[in-house]
Symmetry: C2
Amino acid sequence: METLETANKPTTERILEAAEGLFAAQGIRGTSLKEITELAEVNIAAVNYHFRSKDALVRAVFERSFEPLNAERLRMLGEAENGGGPLTLERVLRALFEPMLRAWQTNRNFILLVGRLQSEPDAELTNHIHGLYVPLIERFLRAARRAAPDVPENELFFWIHFLFGGVVYTLLNSQDMEKMHPGQNPIDTTEAFLHDLIAFGTAGLRSRSQSQPRRS
Amino acid sequence: METLETANKPTTERILEAAEGLFAAQGIRGTSLKEITELAEVNIAAVNYHFRSKDALVRAVFERSFEPLNAERLRMLGEAENGGGPLTLERVLRALFEPMLRAWQTNRNFILLVGRLQSEPDAELTNHIHGLYVPLIERFLRAARRAAPDVPENELFFWIHFLFGGVVYTLLNSQDMEKMHPGQNPIDTTEAFLHDLIAFGTAGLRSRSQSQPRRS
DNA sequence: GTCTATAACTAGATAGAC
DNA sequence: GTCTATCTAGTTATAGAC
C-alpha cells in the first residue's frame, strides 16, 4: 500500500482522501481505521478526533464524493430546460450520465463507492445517501416526462433507473470485461460511450411509448 | 432474528441456509460465524468442522445458489437453439433472464448475493465465481451473434452485460423504488417484466445494428 | 459428530500526557 | 492538535472432553 501525495494538506483532507481510496478498493467494512491512518500518515487517534466515529467519517467521504456530481447534473439539466431548443430525452439522459462518466474518467473511486453503497447493507448510511438523491430523481423524472410525454410515467421512472443500473454495473466491471474481451470494451472513450448509451436508452424508452402501463 | 424451519435437516444444510440468508441481508463481512450458527441452531464449532473455514463456507453458499440457475439458463438456451423455429434475440435474452427472474421470485436471497459479489471486494471469491460464469457467457455470446449477425460482436457483448447490470440493479433496489413511487413498479409480475425487458433490450440492441464498431 | 473452553488476533474508541 | 497506551468487545479457529 503506497502513501498518498499528502504534501502539506490538512489532516482532515488527508484522512478523507485515504479513506475514499480504501473504501473504494476494499469496501467499508473491509477497511480499518488503522489502514486509513497509516495511508494518510496521521495518528490512529486522529480519526476519532476530527470526525466523531468511523460511521461519521464514512458519511463525510460519500458526501464529499457525491455532492459536486449531483450539483453538476442539476446544472446541466437546468441548461437543457432553459437554454433554448427543445427539451429532448437525449439531453435529459446526457445531463444525468455525462457528469457521472466524467467523474469516472478522472477518479474511478467514485463509481466504486456507488457499488459499495449497493451492497454494503448499512441501513443508516443508505438512508442518508438516499436523502441526497430523492430531490434529484424527482427533478429528472419531471424533465423526462416533459421530454417524452408519450411514455407512461411509471415506465420512465423504471427504465431510467434501469439505465442507471446498467451504467453502474458496466463501469464497475469494466476491468473484468476488458480482460474477457480485450479491445472490445466500448467505454474506452467517454464521449463515444455517452453517445451510444443515449442511443441505446432512447431506443429502449421509445419502444415503450404508446404501450399501456401495466397497472392502473 | 428468527430461527429457520430447521426441522430435521442435516447440520450442513442448516448452516448453508442460515449463511445464505445472512450473507444476503448483511453482507459477507457483516456476518459472523456466531450469527450463522445461532440462526442455524448448531454449535459454533460446527462450521469449522463441516466446512474448513469461513471462506470455504462462503464459496459453498454461492455455488449452491448459482449453479442450478446457470444450468437452467443453458438448458433454455439449448432448447432455443435446437427446438425448432428461428433463434431470435428475444429467445436468447429470455434464456438469460427468465431463470434469474424466477429465482428472484421464489427467493430474493439470490439477487442479493449477486449484489454482494459486486461490491465485497474479495478477490479470491470473485475469481472463483467468475470462473463459473465464463463458459456461460461464451455460450450466450455465440448464440446472440447467430441471432443478431448485424450487430457488431463487441456491442453484443457489451450491451448484454449492460442489460444484466440493469436487471441486477433494479431487482436489488425494487423495495426502495416501490417506496419512492408506490404502485409504479413494473416488476410486480415476473412475466410482464420479462416481456418488457426483452422489448426494451432488443430495441436498444437493434438500434446498434449497422453502426460501425468504434474500434478496429 | 457435537460440545465447552479458550487461544490468538483485530476492531473501534478513549484517557491522559505532551 | 497530536501522540502513546490501553480498554472493551468482537472475530476466526482449534484443542480436547464427551
